[in-house]
């Protein structure tokens, strides 16, 4: 089985966990390793960003949240974005234009993460959730059909946010993951220490840029394999005819 097939199956599991409530199981104590709205009628897991905001509002020292996020970061870093996150999967489905990433703009997701925390603190409310496009798909629209929500101003804000994000995704592959996702920013902090990582055999690499052309995040994987933007999807590994890039699960890293 090829790597991309394994990844699709893994992404399928991510979507399955996202809607596991269809089995009748209610909410669990599990924090989702990606961006997935806990308000989704079929969610059985807690959104890490939604929970983070609530903890900020309550002024709770987030021991449990921090432990879980660091665990996810240490295991795979942004690998969860490439292999598991349902909203990342939607990004993947619309990844038609793999244009080069704008390096400076890619730091904007850290600004979004910081703003999410600051706004939650200042307004004592989950402000990010009100514009989160994942919540638009997973909560706003379903609750409209369940007749809990109506077409009101918050709903229209959600739809505008979702529309803009979808257009962004179509124009730029993984647009949300590149520039705006606060969960991606969190997991990206661990990319250089995570057990799942991309390693480069410099002796084999000829600098042909085949990997760059395949990268949905618009990176040059042979130069930026440790970058906080790398979602470890393995597209570059498959594109490399000389097997210079490999996705590895190990504490040891190639120097």
């Amino acid at each position: 089985m090829k790597l991309w097939q394994v990844r699709r199956i893994s992404q399928g599991f991510g979507v399955l966990l996202g809607v596991f409530g269809i089995t009748g199981i209610g909410m669990t104590h599990l924090i989702f390793p990606g961006l997935h709205c806990y308000a989704c009628p079929l969610a059985v897991t807690i959104c890490p960003i939604g929970l983070m905001q609530n903890l900020v509002v309550f002024g709770v020292v987030p021991y449990f949240w921090l432990g879980v996020i660091v665990a996810y970061g240490l295991v795979a870093g942004r690998g969860f974005c490439g292999w598991f996150c349902p909203f990342g999967t939607l990004n993947d489905l619309l990844a038609f234009r793999k244009v080069r990433i704008h390096r400076l703009a890619s730091y904007s997701k850290f600004v979004v993460l910081l703003a999410t925390i600051v706004f939650a603190w200042v307004f004592a409310d989950t402000m990010f959730c009100k514009v989160c496009p994942a919540a638009s798909i997973e909560a706003s629209i379903p609750y409209l059909f369940l007749k809990v929500a109506t077409v009101n101003r918050p709903f229209l804000i959600h739809m505008a946010s979702l529309g803009a994000t979808l257009i962004g995704m179509v124009l730029i592959a993984r647009f949300w993951c590149r520039y705006l996702c606060p969960m991606g920013a969190l997991l990206g902090l661990f990319n250089r220490v995570s057990l799942l990582h991309l390693s480069l055999d410099t002796d084999r690499c000829t600098g042909c840029l085949a990997c760059s052309a395949s990268c949905p995040m618009g990176l040059k994987p042979h130069l930026e394999y440790d970058d906080h933007n790398c979602i470890k999807c393995g597209e570059c590994q498959e594109a490399c005819a000389l097997d210079a890039l490999t996705l590895t699960f190990s504490a040891k890293r190639r120097p």
Binding site: G21, I25, G26, M27, T28, H29, I31, C37, Y38, A39, P41, L42, A43, V44, T45, I46, C47, G50, L51, N54, V57, F58, G59, V60, V61, P62, Y63, F64, W65, L66, G67, V68, V70, A71, L74, W121, V122, F123, A124, D125, T126, C129, K130, V131, C132, A135, A139, S140, P142, L146, V148, A149, T150, N152, P154, F155, I157, H158, V193, A251
Partner: protein, 336 residues
């Protein structure tokens, strides 16, 4: 003569012994107490009135009845009016008005307040002071229209000491990694944060808190509707419509203490209930009584949705606060 005097002495002695014996046996409480209401509700930052009904079931008069809380550290304070009740006649009744006060910072909870009632009664010349301890269950609720918690109340350096320490260790690990290419200390610190964070989080029930946040959907929190904080004064039309209410109706407001729109929903129902004698309501905290929410059908697709207002006799439910007045009147069957 001597015999007669001796007999009298014996009689007096026997009477004395009987009096002392009965008095010794009478060192029991002679008063019976009931609180009205039995389980008062007091708003954080507010006060509530409770009547202490005192029934004297004995032939003796009870004097100087006073009331105070046993533990001074208790969050809810108590004052009686009058301070001292001079007498409760034999087989008689009396009442004391108690004022319960809760500080503003108090969270939603149920508190057992230990109340001591002190009084005295005398049998012949022998008097006793009796201290009766009573347990009063007080439900503390947050203010109907409370402001969001202040930033200062959420910030305490001491509570953040351990995370600050962890960040310091992490920074040291990163420095060692960058300067001397030593990764082991960094991984040790990360593993400590994972183990310590999850273990301590579970020990302090943070996983339950996380579950609660996920399991209960606050309509304004995820942007299904806008949160409302204003005082919901009913319109003249609504008050007129309430007058046409034909039968007694009971509403239950399901809420969560952290839900932003719930105080508005509770306040709206309260205002309507103030305007109509036929309307009664009570609030149910879904965090504490999730089974009740489940049994009353305020759960949609596995989520408890708050605020939800249930009409008990018909089972109809209204979710959220958008156009709440109109929808409540429809729920009550008096809408246009």
């Amino acid at each position: 003569m001597i015999e007669k005097r001796t007999g009298m002495r014996c009689l007096v002695g026997l009477l004395l012994v009987a009096t002392v014996a009965s008095a010794a046996g009478a060192q029991d409480s002679i008063l019976r107490f009931t609180f009205d209401p039995a389980e008062p509700i007091v708003k954080a930052g507010g006060s509530a009135s409770v009547i202490l009904r005192i029934h004297n079931a004995s032939i003796y008069e009870a004097d100087d009845v006073s009331v105070y809380t046993v533990e001074e550290q208790t969050d809810v304070s108590l004052q009686s009016s009058p301070d001292l009740l001079e007498r409760v006649p034999p087989f008689g009744e009396a009442t004391l008005d108690l004022i319960l006060s809760a500080p503003e910072a108090l969270r939603e909870q149920t508190i057992e307040v230990n109340v001591a009632v002190i009084y005295a009664y005398c049998v012949q010349d022998v008097c006793f002071q009796i201290v009766d301890e009573l347990a009063l269950t007080v439900h503390v609720e947050e203010e109907l229209l409370s402001a969001p918690p202040s930033s200062a109340s959420r910030l305490s350096i001491w509570r953040w000491l351990i995370p600050i320490l962890a960040v310091g260790l992490l920074a040291a690990g990163i420095l060692l990694w960058q300067l001397v290419d030593l990764t082991i200390p960094l991984y040790v610190v990360l593993l400590l944060i994972i183990g310590g964070g999850i273990s301590y989080g579970v020990l302090t029930y943070q996983h339950q808190q996380a579950w609660s946040i996920g399991a209960v959907l606050c309509t304004s929190c995820v942007g299904i509707e806008e949160a409302r904080h204003e005082d919901p004064l009913p319109s003249a039309e609504a008050l007129a419509a309430l007058d046409t209410l034909q039968s007694d109706v009971e509403l239950v407001v399901f809420y969560a203490p952290w839900c932003h729109s719930c105080p508005f929903a509770k306040a709206m129902v309260q205002r309507l209930a103030d305007a109509s004698d036929r309307l009664r309501w009570r609030a149910v905290n879904v965090d504490a009584q999730s089974e009740l929410a489940l049994s009353h059908g305020v759960i949609r697709s596995g989520r408890t949705i708050v605020p939800a207002i249930l009409r008990v006799d018909t089972g109809e439910v209204v979710f959220g606060v958008e156009r709440l007045e109109t929808r409540l009147l429809d729920l009550l069957g008096v809408g246009r």
